[in-house]
Structure formats: C-alpha cells, structure tokens
C-alpha cells in the first residue's frame, strides 16, 4: 500500500495529463470507427506503458544490445518474409502481420526506435571516448545500420528520427560541440549539394541531368516543398495537392478555428491522411491558431517534464535514456507539424499520441512508460538544496 502510494506520488502527473489531452484531441479529430479502434489500441498501449514503467529500466539496459539486434533482425525480416506476412502497401514494406489477423500488424521500425535509444544510452553511459572525433565513429555507425534499413523499406519519416535523437544524446552526454556542429554543417552542405545537382544544375548545364542523385518522385517532393504552393507543371501540381490542401486547411482555421458552414475540411474529405500524418492541419482548421497553440504548449510541457526527469536522475543511463526519449518525441512533433505547415518536405510521420495508428501509439506509450520508470527510480532527496546560489557547487554537480 505504502509502495503503491509512493509509486503514485512519483508518477509525473503533469506529463500524463498533457498526454491524455493530446489523446482526447486526437479522438475528436478522427471519425468514430477509427476512434473506437484507436481506443482499443490505447488499452494495449496502457499495458505496454505499464510494463515499461514497472520493469526495472536498468534491466532493460543490460539487455539493450540483445533487444537492438532483435529489432535489427525484425527490420531485415520485412524484406525476407513472404508478402503474406510482410505486405507491400503503397510500394513500401514496413509491416509484419499475422496472415490470419490482418488487423494486428506491427512496424519493426517503431520498435527499432526504442531499441536504438536503449542501446545508445547503454553504450554512452560511462564513456568519454565520444568526446574525441574518432570516438564518434562507433555511435554513428550504430545509427547508420537501423537508419539504412528503415530507409530501404522505404520509410523516410522514421529514418529521419535517428539522427536528431543521436545528436541530442551525444550533446547531452558531453560530446564536443564543435564536432557535432561540424558534422551538422557537413550534412547541410551535402543536402544542399544534392538539391543543387538535382534541381538547379541541370538548368545551367543540361548534360548534368544524368548525374541526378535522387529518383524522380523524390525530386518532385523537394520541388513541391520549394514551390510552397506555386507550381510550374502538372506533376508538381498533382504531388503538391497534399501540401496545398494542408496549408489551406491550417490557414483557413484563422484564430479560433472554423465551425459550421466554413468548417470545410471537417465536413468534406478534402485533406488526404487527415487523421494520421496531417491530423495537425485538421486541428488547425477546427480550432485555429488557439488549438495549434494548445497542442504545442502540451508538447512543451511533455518536453519540460522529460528534461526535468533527465536532470533529476543521477544514473547516467537513466539520464541519457530520458533525453533520448524526449528527443524522439520532439523530433516526431517537429517533423510532423513542420510538414503540415509547409516548413519541411512531406514525409510519412505520425504526431505522437494524436495521430491514428496502432504501432506508433503503443511504442510512444512504451517510451512514456520508460520516462515514468526513470522518474520512479529518482533517489529520495533527504535535504533540500540551499536556496543561496552556490555556483561552485552547481558546477561540481
């Protein structure tokens, strides 16, 4: 009884409150059938969260390499298994499902995200090697393996989560900022170079077209993003339909959102994927700037609590794990909402706790469970800190 009370006292209620808020908003934004399915998934998710919160997280850390390898094997299995188990949907093979239970399908890439964070946190926890440039090689190599496998599926959205998480964890763990900035700069230069060679160089030198590094549909997506709703040809217009509708839905929400006659995107199915990847646009349409603000504020609370958990945990593994999970949420949120409002190119990405989608919901709740787990293991503070500012003490800790 005492233990339960202690456990309940240590649960980060503020975080759970905003997660419930996000889930409710998600429920209000999808149709009834899907909402009911999502509720079922939520039951599964709560179980997953409970398990992740109750299993001693250090025990997860000890098994993290095994879990990571298993998740990599699952990622590989997507390509190896027959189509009946690993179906090809819209040209991508991301799912594993039981042949006689097509409703229950799981995405190995979602599991890989958590396994990766566990593994990386476990790897980085007592090291200092990553403070040198050479020591960064292994963490990057460990990142590239799942990243490449997910990219191959293809699932550009999920693969884009690994790098921000890695950078956040390395940064907090104490890697040299100059190294990280140099790597980021290198990446930016590479991306700009690819876009230049693909799109701008052929305009100057027609013969350069054959060196184009991207496939046609990828190029079109970048063009569509660069065009921001103004298109020069029909293909771009077709592909740009999604982002144009998304901007129209979000923008037309104005300050307080549209209800009644002008709730166009609520009344008609005009915005594709408006309960999964583009649910944020629909929220923007229904509840306007205020609604979007509430969503972003809720996420800010989630991140603050996550970072607070990281700060209050003395255990290095717990610290890195908390930062990794928070960074994962933040990256998902930033990419999903960023593409909905036209700041980032369109990729497939769910909005955590809001979007419809079983795998993503379960994994996000499991990650939430990990945060609760870490919070639960916070040492009992026997004395409060002095209220005077002691810079030296602060620096030591």
């Amino acid at each position: 009884m005492i233990g339960l009370l202690r456990f309940l006292r240590r649960v980060p209620w503020a975080m759970l409150a905003v997660v419930v808020l996000l889930c409710v908003i998600g429920q209000m934004s999808m149709d009834e059938g899907r909402g009911r399915k999502q509720l079922l998934w939520m039951i599964v998710s709560l179980v997953a969260m409970g398990v992740a919160a109750l299993v001693p997280y250090r025990w997860l850390g000890e098994w993290s390499y095994v879990i990571f390898v298993v998740s990599l094997l699952l990622l590989l299995a997507v390509f190896v298994l027959p189509e009946s188990v690993s179906p090809n949907i819209k040209g991508a093979r991301r799912w594993i499902r039981l042949p006689n239970l097509p409703e229950v399908n799981c995405q190995p890439s979602e599991i890989a995200k958590i396994a990766y964070i566990l593994m990386l946190a476990w790897y980085l926890r007592y090291r200092t090697s990553y403070r040198s440039l050479g020591g960064l090689l292994l963490p990057f190599a460990l990142t590239v393996i799942p990243l490449a496998l997910v990219l191959k599926e293809p699932d550009l959205g999920t693969s884009m989560l690994f790098l921000p998480t890695l950078f956040a964890m390395l940064y907090v763990a104490g890697a040299d900022v100059r190294h990280l900035l140099a790597i980021i700069a290198l990446g930016v230069v590479l991306v700009v170079a690819i876009v230049f060679v693909q799109i701008y160089l052929p305009r100057l030198v027609p013969a350069a077209g054959r060196f184009a590094p991207l496939e046609a549909h990828q190029e079109v997506r970048i063009r569509v993003w660069l065009a921001q709703g103004r298109y020069s040809n029909a293909t771009e217009k077709d592909e740009g339909y999604q982002i144009r509708q998304s901007l129209m839905a979000t923008g037309s929400g104005q300050l307080l959102g549209q209800r009644g006659r002008d709730a166009i995107f609520s009344r008609y199915d005009l915005l594709p994927e408006d309960d999964t990847d583009f649910i944020f646009s629909l929220i923007g349409h229904r509840w306007g700037f205020v609604g979007c603000g509430v969503i972003l504020a809720a996420y800010l609370v989630l991140f603050v609590v996550g970072i607070e958990i990281a700060a209050a945990t003395p255990d290095p593994f717990g610290r890195l794990l908390a930062v990794g999970v928070t960074a994962l949420f933040a990256a998902q949120m930033a990419i999903n909402t960023g593409m909905a409002i036209g700041l980032l190119p369109v990729t497939g990405m769910t909005l955590p706790f809001v979007s419809y989608g079983g795998s993503s919901l379960v994994v996000n709740f499991a990650a939430l469970g990990l945060l609760i787990n870490i919070r639960r293991h916070r040492p009992i503070v026997l004395y409060r800190r002095r209220f005077e500012w002691n810079e030296q003490l602060d620096r030591l800790t």
């Binding site: 129209m248 979000t250 923008g251 929400g253 002008d262 923007g284 700037f289 996420y299 970072i307 930062v323």
Partner: protein, 706 residues
C-alpha cells in the same frame, strides 16, 4: 555542464516551437482570409455545359429547312477517355491519393471502362477503330485548346474541357438508347446525355444551298471568330457550319451555350441559360424549290448522258405577292442535281465522293462553271448595239460559215448531214435562229477586250456577292487572262473574240450567273445581284448597264421569237400557251476529254454502265459519202430566259450536263419550271397569242440546233 546542456537542449526545442508559432501566425492570422477563400472556392464543382442550340434556317414562307433537334448520345468523361489514373481510381479529377496508388487502383477500372465502351460500340454499330479514332480526335482537340490557353496565360494550365464529359456517340436511335441505358446503369463517367443534332426536314432538294455542319476542327479552335464571347466560343465537340448557308450565316446561327455551376451542396453558383442562335430566312420558296428539283431530276435522268444539272429562278423586281414583299433579285429556287440526303450524308460520304460522274456533293448551281454557248448571244448583241458595231436594222449574211485566218468558222447549220446557211439575218432573227456567223461577226467587230467588259457589266465572270464559299466567278476571258493562261502562246486574237461572241472559247459561267444575266436583260438592262437571304434590308441598288431600252427591246423580241415563232430554236420544245415565254437556247460544246476519261463505252464508272461515247456520222471520204463512227462532240444543254415576255416577273436558267441540245434537253425543263412558277403565283398566266402560222409544238424544226 550536463545541466547547462540540458537547458540548451530545452532552449533549442523552445526555439523550434517559436519558429513554428511564427509560421502558424503567418498562415492563420495573416493569410487566413486568403486560405479560407481558397478553401471555399475549392468546393465549387467544375461547370457543366448545357447544349448549344443552333438557329434555324427557314424558307421565305418560314418552312423549316434546318433546325436543331434534341437527340441522345453517349457522353464519356474526359478522364475515362484519357485514362487519367486519378479519375479512374476515385471518380474525381483531384489527385486525392499518390500517383502510384492511383495507378494501382486504376488498372481494373480501366479494363472495365474499355470493355464497357466496346459494348456501347457494339450496341451502336461502331467498330473499335472508329471509337478509338473519335477518342483520339476529342483528346487532340482538347489539347489544342489547352495549348492555346496555356500560350495565352504563359504557363501550362488546365481548361474546363479536361473535366467534362464529351460526346463519343451521337444520335442514338430510341432502340439503341434504351439498350445503352440498360447497359450503363449508374456507371459514373459514361452516360446517355442529351445533345442537339441538326435536322433537315426538306432533305436533298435544298441540301446544297442549306449546307451542312460538323464538329469544329483544329483550325476553327485556333482561329475562333467567337473567341471574345464566352458563351459562343468554340469548344471541342461543338458544331459549326461547313458549307452553304450553314457556313455563310455562322455568325448569326451560332447559339450561346448554357453553363451551370454548383457547389458541393448543389447550390447554383452560376446558371446561364442556353440561348438559341438567330434564325436565317432564305429567299428560297421551299415548295417551288422541291418541285423544280424534282423536274430537274426527271429531265437529267431522261437526258442522253445523265450526269447532272442545275436550275435557277430569280425574281426580277420588288413586288408584293400575297401580302409579303418579294425583292428584286431574290432567288426563288436554286436546284442542283444530283444531291444528297443532308441527314445521312456522313454515313455515305465515301460513296458520295466516289461518284465521279454524278458528283452529288457539287453545288452545280453556283459552283460549276460551264461554257454557256448561245445563251450569251443576247449579251453580245446588246454590246454590239451599244458600241455601235451593228445597226438595229443591219443584216448580216450567213452562208453557213465565216472565213477565218486559217480555217473557216462554221455556223451550227453547216454541221451534220444537211448543210445550209441562214442567209441575210437581222439582229432579232439572228437570235431566233441562234446564227453563229452573225455573232462571230459581232464578236470580231467588238474585239475581245470590249466584249469581255460588256459581259462583266451583265454580270458574267464577276463576283455575284452571295457570299457562299462555293460560289465561283466563272471565266470571261480578256486579253490579260488569255496571256496568263495560255503560257505565253499569244494573247487575244480575232478568233477568240468570235468564239466568245457565241459563248464558246474559254468562256465559262455558272447557272446562277446565267439566270442573273437573264434578269438583267429582262429588266431592260438593269443589273442587280442575286439575293439568297431575307435579311430585312432594302433591295440593293440596281445599276443600268448602259444599253438603250430600245435596243433591249430588239433583244427581247429576238428571245420571244426563239420560243414563240416556228423555226425558233426552242419553239418545238418550250412553246407554251399559258404564258408568253422569252428565252434563249444554248448547246455549248464541252470538253470531250472529260467525257473521254469518264464515258468510254462499256466502262463502268460509279457502278453504272455508260452508253457509247461515239456516234455515227456521214463523212465524205475520197469523194464517197460513208457512215463512220466518230467520237462524240458533247454539248451541255442550256436554256435561259424570262417570263412573261411582255411584263417579265421572273428570270431563270437551267442547264443539263451533256444534254447535247439546248432546245431538246433543256427546253422542256424550262417549260416545266415556268409552269411551276405559275402554280406558285410568281408568274401571272397570260396566254401567249398563238404565233402566225403556228404548227404547234409537235413540229420539229429539223435536226435544228445542236
């Protein structure tokens, strides 16, 4: 350091959120109104076209000659025609799903639609190739418009025709319509749609004049006379006049299309009703036209080498008939035989265009120029009298021939077995006998430049101003024309002047021009122009050609004698008791080569066996008269004139191709036409006084006029 870095990490997140908030306020607060407006507009469905109704063509008594009737066709969405994957996958043109997904979904739908269109084709009796050809035509035309609009806008753009249904099969019979409806059910994208089709109640008798209409083609779309008018602008699948009055009066006949645009809730955004095009009233009397056409058909079929013919009736001067005004120059009948059924000509186009002998698509009355032969002799006489080249009382001797520079020019009386000369002839007698020597002489005295100028004044070889695309001017050779067309082998000679004087040589005129010239003579030398459309305007000003009325009386006298006096060239064939008719026969020698190419004995042309193109004649060979077979010298048969002779009200001209003899072949036709005009009230019957010493129409005036 760990805590500082955690704070920095949180700071980074906050920065991202600030950027996101800034972007959101730009989208929702600054541009919110624009996006809301766009969203509202995206609810509006593409406009639907309502069929355009073309104006009617009616005759002078408002008998319908052409009208639009509602008909049912099979309309297919453009997305189905082009196989647009988005449309096939979702039934909508907006790309709601990714292209690859659309392609995957579209596959089965495409097969289903192809099969459906095949079945529709079978029900309508159309082959797969025909359907494909129509489909390609529609797509091509839409692309032409799209290109044009894109060029105007300066970038690739979409046009409404890309989001509409286009008629693939027209004019379903009630039976086919029921079957197609049953087959299609509620299939989206392929429907039985109401359209308009052109119906010509009078059929073939006015087919050439009324003309035809058909779908617009690439050129029409590129050079659209209605480009400035939204409702009338040509769109692929629209129809426009191709020939005849349909072409001529396009600006008046074209209707304005209706447009209906609704939003997703069915509320009308735009509702423009279709406006029927203006009606066009022709000067033709449909009943007279039908009767004249039937008579023409009868006489052409009965002619020795049945090919074709034309007949024209023109009202002479303004008058009131049964309460309505008939203006001078109005054409009352304009028949051309053979003709075609304007309601079904497309189905038989191959046969119609393969008929080289009949050439049913040829509008002979205005588009065929024939050598006129003797019917221009009154004009030659008028010119000579006006120029003072012959005195009214002067006689010229015809010994049967007139010596020329290298060979004698024979009179028609000097050919055949019984050679004779006409002797001393005065002007009106020369017309009566149609003496060639007299008019050779006149032609030579006038010289070609003067003669051709006079012929043009009488309305030959000039633009008659009907505006019809088919109208031809014919040829009145003047020295410049000859120099241009003889390849430098010499200009006008006396021989040309002689030949043109009797209506031969290079002279060629249309039946309409012949009738109009007869009208000029009948009015006593006042030239008007033929009118085809009752447009409510006053009669165009008529001009005097500058021949003294007294001299015109001599000509009229000669033309009366042609018909009403024994031995006049048409007396045996065209004399009638109901009214006093004045006319002139013409047996115009035509190109034999034309016949040689087509009329070889026993040769089949157009599926018909032709009579031999030779005839037996007696020739003197080595002092011995023998009968030999010679190639035929073919002639077109003309008869032109006016009635009643004393107070003329109508002028007419008719021609029967290869009728051989103007009097024999065309005379009876002219008589029939005059009787029809009397029946319809255009000529007041006033019995001609029986000619002194008349022997009646049964009497033959010999082998008479060739």
């Amino acid at each position: 350091m760990y805590f500082r870095r955690l704070k920095t990490f949180l700071g980074l997140i906050v920065v991202v959120l600030i950027v996101w908030i800034a972007r959101l306020s730009l989208l929702q607060l600054v541009r919110g109104d624009d996006y809301l407006q766009q969203a509202r507009e995206s609810l509006i469905n593409p406009p639907k076209r309502l069929p355009t109704e073309r104006g009617r063509i009616v005759d002078r008594h408002t008998v319908l000659l052409a009208l639009d009737e509602p008909s049912f066709g099979v309309a297919v969405e453009y997305g189905v025609l082009t196989g647009n994957p988005y449309y096939l996958a979702s039934g909508q043109y907006r790309p709601r799903i990714s292209r690859s997904r659309a392609e995957a979904l579209a596959g089965p739908a495409r097969e289903r639609y192809e099969e459906l269109i095949d079945q529709v084709g079978q029900l309508c009796g159309l082959s797969r190739q025909e359907l494909d050809a129509r489909r390609q035509r529609i797509i091509r035309e839409v692309q032409v418009v799209k290109d044009g609009v894109s060029r105007r806008v300066g970038r690739s753009t979409f046009i409404p025709a890309e989001f509409m249904a286009h008629t693939l099969v027209e004019d379903l019979s009630p039976d086919a319509q029921a079957r197609v409806r049953a087959l299609l059910g509620d299939t989206p994208g392929v429907t039985v749609a109401a359209t308009m089709r052109r119906y010509y109640p009078m059929g073939e008798c006015v087919a050439h004049l009324v003309g035809s209409e058909g779908p617009v083609d690439k050129d029409d779309l590129e050079r659209d006379p209605f480009a400035a008018e939204d409702g009338r602008r040509y769109l692929p699948g629209d129809r426009r006049g191709l020939t005849g009055i349909e072409w001529l009066a396009e600006m008046q006949l074209r209707g304005s299309r209706g447009l209906r645009q609704t939003d997703r809730e069915g509320a009308a955004i735009q509702d423009v009703p279709a406006v029927r095009g203006g009606n066009v009233q022709l000067t033709i009397d449909a009943i007279l036209q039908k009767q004249v056409y039937d008579a023409l058909a009868r006489h052409v079929v009965g002619s020795p080498y049945p090919c074709g013919g034309a007949a024209v009736v023109i009202n002479l001067s303004d008058r009131s008939l049964g309460g309505h005004v008939v203006r001078g120059g109005e054409v009352l009948a304009l028949a051309s035989y053979p003709s075609f059924d304007p309601n079904h000509w497309r189905e038989f186009y191959r046969q119609l265009s393969a008929d080289e002998r009949g050439q049913p698509m040829l509008f002979r009355a205005v588009a065929a120029a024939y050598p006129p032969g003797s019917i221009v002799k009154p004009v030659t006489l008028a010119a000579a009298l006006a120029e003072g080249k012959v005195r009214a009382d002067e006689t010229i001797n015809c010994p049967g021939w007139l010596l020329g520079p290298d060979k004698p020019f024979k009179c028609w009386s000097w050919s055949g077995p019984n050679k004779f000369g006409h002797g001393e002839l005065a002007a009106s007698e020369a017309l009566k006998f149609s003496c060639n020597v007299f008019f050779y002489t006149l032609g030579e005295r006038l010289t070609l430049p003067v003669l051709s100028r006079w012929m043009e004044r009488f309305g030959l070889g000039v633009d008659l101003g009907t505006g019809l695309a088919e109208e031809r001017r014919g040829v009145v050779p003047n020295p410049a024309w000859l120099a241009a067309h003889r390849g430098g082998l010499g200009g006008a000679s006396a021989a040309d002047a002689r030949n043109v004087g009797i209506g031969q040589g290079d002279l060629a005129i249309t039946p309409l021009a012949a009738a109009n010239t007869m009208a000029t003579i009948a009015r006593g030398g006042i030239a008007g122009r033929p009118l085809l459309v009752c447009d409510g305007k006053p009669t165009p000003v008529m001009t005097r050609v500058g021949v003294d009325p007294a001299w015109m009386d001599i000509i009229r006298d000669g033309m009366v004698r042609v018909v009403n006096e024994p031995h006049g060239t048409a007396h045996a064939y065209a004399f009638m008791t109901e009214v006093k008719l004045a006319g002139k026969t013409g047996s115009a020698q035509a190109s034999r080569r034309w016949i040689g190419g087509q009329f070889v004995a026993g040769r089949r042309v157009g599926g018909q066996l032709f009579p031999p193109a030779t005839h037996r004649v007696i020739r003197t060979i080595d002092g011995e008269r023998v009968e030999v077979e010679e190639p035929l010298r073919p002639s077109h048969a003309w008869f032109a004139g006016f009635a009643p002779a004393d107070k003329p009200t109508i002028a007419f001209a008719c021609v029967i191709e290869y009728g051989m003899s103007g009097g024999r072949a065309a005379g009876p036709l002219a008589k029939d036409i005059i009787r029809l005009c009397i029946d319809r009230g255009y000529i007041e019957a006033a019995p001609a006084s029986p000619p002194a010493g008349a022997t009646g129409p049964g009497e033959s005036s010999g082998e008479a006029h060739p």
